[in-house]
Symmetry: C2
Subunit: 263 residues, 2 copies
């Protein structure tokens, strides 16, 4: 194993038992460890557990990651581990880091992790090849509410494709505060706002099926099948994503119905 | 932990260091272990290593998995582990097993793994939210060559979305033989056949960009940026998937170019 360089390490969706052997080994062997803290967040108890598993670490926020000079300088002489919740190579910034290492001749090592994105799709029981483009439902900034996520979902539906929606966790849009994951209730409210502004034929949005995927991969994992109109009744949980199925095949229907709450 | 029941366990893309801690623990603690052997395959040396890591196992092919009665019967009284290369909840059959356990009151436990699908997307450096529906390029059976994968790719391209293509590994279509992963060369030939049969405007298919992702997550991982016309010159490697980028953003272009071979 190299003696210097930068490892970008996926630690999985939050339950540290879902770290891979390689992620644990490489994190342990690093001289300096960071946890990327602005695209997701770990529950407090897992933060402590991570330290017990791999050693001391400090939190890394967006400004330092984007300038990155300081980190790259350390990586020229030491082994640096940047641990990222989920998988590290989804957001642009992290790709940038790989390219900058290549450019400067710094050893670069990418260790994949289980991401909430693939976990939502696989856990749902819907078929992965029937998913279209994924969307992100962002917080509303004052009067500003882009309706492109809804339009993309409508496009997917018209092609018979399901849509995975990630929920924003940065109410300021700056990546400097502790993340505040959007609740299903708020996502439902924002979607209905979008529908009002949209010229698409989406008057029936309240009746659309939706799977609420909460805290996937953790002990408090919960999946609930409901409708957009009922999202306001979903409470609890920490981090959520939503799946909007289009027309479902028979086996998908059975899978979807298995997540309904029967009370 | 439960004393009976069925665990469906993702063991990751082939490099066993990418098994999660949970996958290792649950496999070890099972009374009986199977490795699902028809949707993917492990190199011989990894098969032996898996035994050293978790204990003895036997191979499970499609007919037994689809009937499943025998397995479910064992799972009523013992802890059964079905290990699956990649992530277990992509193919329909495996979803079926969860539903049948629910129905029969058998404990069911799903442990996610890193799949080649998410790995191809993340390793590529392209942005995950710009991927459209994924396709599978299947072997040609005699004269029969469906062109729907190409049509779906054209649809993605027209929306500015990238396409991930999985390559078939079952030349018989029956799931009973040892898998024979399709080569990039063969995939290129089949794509060009599809283009000839298609009424889409795809005369320029030879010039389309493509990323060849080979043996991802293993020590022989290799990614090559090339074109469809040049796929016939790509040799070596065991299991491949292809990514067809549509128009790329600036950072994606840099990422794509970083995979070109400079000789």
């Amino acid at each position: 194993m190299e003696k210097t360089g930068l490892s970008l390490i996926g630690i999985g969706p939050g339950n540290l038992d879902l770290m891979t052997k390689q992620a644990i080994d490489v994190s342990q062997s690093a001289d300096i460890r960071f946890l990327e803290g602005y695209t997701s967040s770990l529950p407090t108890e897992s933060q402590k557990e991570l330290e017990n598993m791999v050693g001391e670490w400090s939190m890394l926020m967006r400004p330092m990651m984007e300038s990155a000079d300081e980190i790259l300088k350390i990586a020229e002489n030491k082994k640096v581990a940047i641990m990222v919740i989920g998988d590290p190579m989804i957001a642009t910034t992290h790709i940038d880091i790989r390219l900058r290492c290549l450019e400067r001749g710094i050893n670069f090592n990418y260790i994949p992790g289980i991401s909430a994105i693939s976990l939502a799709i696989s856990t749902s029981g819907l078929q992965s090849y029937r998913f279209g483009r994924q969307i992100t439902i962002t917080y509303q900034y004052g009067e500003y509410l882009p309706i492109s996520p809804l339009i993309q979902m409508v496009e997917n539906r018209s092609r018979g494709l399901h849509t995975l929606a990630l929920l924003d966790l940065d109410p300021t849009g700056m990546g400097v505060e502790i993340p505040v994951p959007m609740t299903p209730e708020e996502a439902g409210r924002i979607l209905k706002e979008m529908a009002k502004k949209s010229e698409e034929n989406v008057e029936d949005i309240e009746s659309w099926n939706v799977l609420v995927c909460s805290d996937l991969g953790t002990f408090s994992e919960r999946i609930i099948a409901t409708t957009v109109g009922e999202l306001c009744n979903i409470h609890g949980g920490r981090i959520h994503s939503l799946i909007f199925p289009s027309e479902m095949h028979e086996m998908e229907n059975l899978a979807f119905n298995s997540w309904k709450i029967h009370s």
